[in-house]
């Protein structure tokens, strides 16, 4: 309860003790310690490539715990406090921007119903919230998804085909467009399960499988690129932020003979 009171009081900036803590954590010494901690945790994570070990698991659990705690506090300060507690108890808002609004009790109760999933026998109440949420959002989404996603993508697949070929560029474009058109159509046929995939339909769905494999291959290639980028990011941190530009420069100059 004490924590809740402190969380509710802290508004429009930080409480004095929070300000002191913030200035302490952003001092040069603490930033250096933070870099060492980050480097240590990075090495803990890398240790997994050798084999699973307690250091890796410590780092993994620490990351999950901190993320969950951080998210919870963020949701509380950004949402629960200004959008639920203040309208119910405006006297808590030091800035005095909030007026009493009892309507927030309804979403508050709906939110509480989701937590009831944890209580055996009361879990069914959460279905009311989910039904409200899914129904409402489907209603909002349906026309927007149709106009903003499905139809533009459909038009683009047809529109891309140049019907007159009078240069090499337009011939290449025609080839690309046909590959795209046939690929999209054959994938749709592959996912059409009301017809047995035999004969002509079977042949087209086979083309669909090849198209999907090409797409997955491209996706996998990009995924490798992304993972390598993350590794490079960590290496840059270890080499230049942790070990330091100067030392890395000296090591490099040893090999350059400088």
């Amino acid at each position: 309860m004490l924590n809740l009171a402190i969380l509710l009081q802290a508004d429009n900036g930080l409480l004095p003790w929070q300000e002191s803590m913030a200035s302490f954590f952003f001092s040069d010494g603490m930033v250096a310690i933070g870099t060492w901690v980050a480097a240590g945790l990075t090495l803990f994570m890398f240790s997994f490539v050798y084999k699973d070990n307690p250091l890796f698991r410590f780092g993994e659990h620490l990351y999950l715990g901190i993320s969950a705690g951080y998210l919870m506090s963020l949701y509380f300060f950004n949402n629960m406090k200004p959008k639920f507690f203040y309208p119910l108890m405006p006297f808590l808002d030091a800035a005095g921007d909030t007026t009493l609004n009892l309507w927030v009790i309804i979403p508050g109760i709906l939110g509480l119903f989701i937590i009831f999933r944890l209580i055996p026998g009361w879990g069914w109440l959460s279905r009311i919230t989910f039904a409200f949420y899914i129904g409402g959002f489907t209603g909002i989404s349906f026309p927007k998804v149709l106009n903003g996603l499905l139809l533009p993508q459909f038009y683009a697949t047809i529109d891309a085909i140049p019907w007159r070929v009078n240069s090499i560029d337009s011939a290449v474009l025609l080839l690309n467009s046909l590959v795209l058109f046939i690929g999209a159509l054959s994938v749709l046929v592959y996912f059409f399960f009301s017809l047995e995939h035999r004969g002509f339909v079977g042949g087209v769905s086979r083309v669909g499988i090849y198209t999907l494999m090409l797409a997955f291959g491209a996706s996998f290639g990009y995924t490798i690129m992304a993972r390598v980028s993350l590794l490079i990011g960590r290496m840059q941190f270890l080499m230049f932020d942790w070990i330091g530009d100067e030392i890395v420069g000296r090591i490099a100059s040893l090999f350059h003979g400088g």
């Binding site: 927007k144 903003g148 490798i224 993350l230």
Partner: protein, 287 residues
């Protein structure tokens, strides 16, 4: 007693300890960072399109950035976001920044601080507003179609947004002349479906390599005017803005690792085929 046959060279290669490959990958990353080779970076048309759009807009145009990523995607998206923001500052455009991912705001704040060291005249609430994070995803996007200041009553620093000079001119998505979204997931789908398509705002995407294939159909359908894809895209943008930084420095390592992976795949396939041939020959001899 049956004699244990020693594995052939092919078998030993195919059973290579994965840790040797990890070590080679680590070296392929670290060595080019120590000894940069300066391999050429070719700018692709989709990155050029984003650059040209920002470059060709008249000075003082309204640009919205949505930084929808967190530290897990920082190595790819942070360098490109910084390059794009630097370009926007140089062109004296007005900039509003939103975040749909809870762990993203601190990265944007860091980027702003770094750019303010380069451009001290760049002023908060006048030249830019950092609206911070708001929970709700697609609902936030629908809401900014009506008003930034209602959706984000306070900015990241806790100041009231309604009275800010920039907000008086630029207070809803439809007033944006261009938008660049930095995406590590599917929030970009929401921006297109619920935001830019509804309000007819041209948009470019800065995306991680993992999600890049998901966004290319939007480029083909002209729902995106350009894509900055992964670290390679970031390096291309750095080249265009003529400020080589982290992404450019990483490109040599990226190329080296890709070459290593390419060689490993080719060798593994050759050895796998040789292994199959060897087994068939053995089977024929035994018959």
């Amino acid at each position: 007693m049956e004699k244990v046959q020693k594995p052939s060279f092919i078998e030993r290669f195919l059973q290579l300890d994965r840790r040797i490959i990890y070590t080679l990958v680590a070296l392929a990353v670290a060595i080019p960072l120590l000894f940069p080779m300066g391999l050429p970076i070719k700018v692709t048309p989709e990155v050029q399109s984003v650059y040209d759009m920002i470059e060709d807009l008249p000075e003082g145009s309204n640009i919205l950035i949505s930084a929808d990523f967190d530290p897990a995607s920082m190595p790819e998206l942070y360098p490109m976001m910084k390059s794009v923001m630097r370009h926007i500052v140089r062109k004296h455009h007005k900039l509003a920044i939103t975040v749909l991912w809870p762990n993203g705001p601190n990265l944007v704040a860091q980027c702003i601080e770094e750019l303010k060291l380069e451009y001290p005249e760049w002023t908060n609430t006048v030249d830019y507003v950092f609206l911070g994070y708001q929970v709700g995803g697609a609902i936030v996007i629908i809401s900014v179609g009506d008003s930034f200041s209602d959706t984000f009553p306070k900015d990241y620093y806790g100041a009231s947004t309604a009275e800010m000079p920039i907000i008086k001119e630029f207070n809803r998505l439809g007033q944006a002349d261009y938008m660049v979204m930095f995406e590590a997931g599917n929030s970009g789908d929401w921006w297109i479906v619920y935001g830019t398509e509804v309000h007819d705002v041209p948009v470019g995407g800065g995306v991680t390599a993992v999600v890049a294939p998901m966004y290319y159909p939007y480029l083909q359908a002209k729902q995106l005017n350009g894509i900055i894809g992964g670290l390679k895209g970031a390096a291309e943008y750095e080249k265009l803005t003529e400020v080589p930084a982290l992404a450019t420095a990483a490109m040599d390592s990226q190329s080296m690792v890709h070459a290593l992976i390419f060689v490993a795949i080719v060798l593994a396939n050759i050895f796998a085929l040789m292994f199959v041939g060897q087994k068939r020959r053995q089977a024929r001899e035994e018959m």
